[in-house]
């Protein structure tokens, strides 16, 4: 597998578009257990990132990620600004000056992004935050990579095998998102609600689930999209 600048740019565009479509869903979830603006914040931040990338086309993956990071930091006021901003700062660190990366590098970047979320948000798995999705999503990548599939095999991995692996990954991600519903929030504004935070999916986990789903989508050049609004509300 390889992941290039063009794939990254279509990912950001697609993510911004889907965030816009799911803006209300994210706001409704956040309204129940937070301050109600997760959808609005994410849409504002990623739309700004898309515009920046269009106006100043990046020369490599690293600078593209930096542009997204700075757009999020400057335009998203809630916790999602610094958290998603950190994600893209960490990706930029691994991707710097490269226009195309292989699977090993790509997984390393996702791992660095996850570590960044832990460092920034100081949450633990199970606290009902975006980490509840990032942790299993990245663990799956590491497991899949160190297991039976080796990089050399991936070259000859058939298209259907690749699609199957992506599908399984996205299914795991969806399960992880929905598992946040029954958890009691330990971090962020939702933590103020204590046990009353149960019964609502964590909005940051939903936007993270969408993040991984669309990475898989652009990598495969299409596919079916999860109807998140019917799953998480």
């Amino acid at each position: 597998m390889s992941f290039d600048l063009e794939t990254f740019l279509s990912f950001i565009q697609m993510y911004a578009k889907r965030l816009e479509e799911l803006q209300e869903v994210l706001n409704i979830l956040d309204n129940r257990i937070g301050d109600g603006d997760h959808g609005t914040n994410m849409v504002r931040g990623f739309n700004f990132a898309v515009r920046q990338l269009h106006e100043q086309p990046p020369s490599d993956l690293g600078s593209a990620c930096n542009t997204v990071a700075m757009a999020l930091l400057a335009h998203v006021g809630g916790a999602s600004g610094p958290l998603y901003g950190t994600v893209f700062m960490k990706l930029a660190g691994i991707f710097q000056q490269q226009t195309e990366v292989d699977k090993v590098t790509w997984i390393k970047a996702m791992e660095a992004a996850k570590a960044g979320i832990v460092q920034r948000g100081k949450a633990k798995f199970g606290d009902k935050t975006m980490l509840d999705v990032w942790e299993p999503a990245v663990a799956y990548l590491l497991g899949a990579h160190s297991g039976t599939q080796h990089e050399t095999h991936s070259e000859i991995q058939s298209e259907s095998q690749r699609e199957e692996a992506c599908e399984e990954w996205v299914q795991e991600v969806e399960v992880a998102v929905l598992a946040t519903r029954d958890r009691i929030a330990k971090k962020g504004r939702a933590a103020y609600l204590g046990p009353r935070s149960q019964g609502t999916c964590d909005p940051g986990s939903v936007s993270s689930g969408l993040f991984f789903e669309l990475l898989s989508y652009v990598y495969n050049g299409g596919g079916e999209l999860i109807p998140w609004e019917t799953r998480v509300l």
């Binding site: 700075m70 930091l73 400057a74 006021g77």
Partner: protein, 133 residues
């Protein structure tokens, strides 16, 4: 080292600006006070804006960074990663009540106290009684 500088980060631009106004009245012109608040016209904090305020502090002054709630802390930490090493080394995040802490800090800074002393003064605000018992 000059007098310590105080950077005030709030989700509300007005809260940060009002607190600078109040602290300035107590501390006088010898202390650099900076307000950072809001994101566009809305409530929020922004790491690049905080980083800019840190860079704007007088060279050689220790910088004390105060913040209000929630993600303000995360953005302060991030801002410290965005500034050059010589600014980062002089900066300290202060875990203290925002209003009383900043005022105590500004006054201590105006007396030429070291950054350690200024931080201690700010943290005293946590247990300070406002009404005699």
């Amino acid at each position: 080292m000059g007098n310590a500088s105080v950077v005030i980060v709030s989700h509300s631009r007005q809260l940060a600006a009002g607190l600078v106004e109040l602290a300035a009245q107590m501390a006088g012109p010898s202390v650099h006070l900076a307000a950072v608040g809001g994101i566009g016209d809305e409530l929020g904090t922004s790491a690049p804006a905080i980083a800019e305020a840190l860079r704007g502090c007088p060279v050689n002054s220790p910088i004390l960074l105060f913040f209000d709630i929630g993600s303000a802390f995360m953005n302060c930490e991030l801002a410290l990663e965005l500034v050059p090493e010589n600014v980062r080394q002089r900066s300290t995040l202060v875990d203290a009540p925002l209003v009383e802490g900043c005022i105590e800090a500004a006054v201590a800074a105006s007396l030429g106290q070291t950054d350690r002393e200024v931080i201690t003064a700010a943290q005293k605000a946590r247990t300070m009684l406002k009404v005699a018992r």
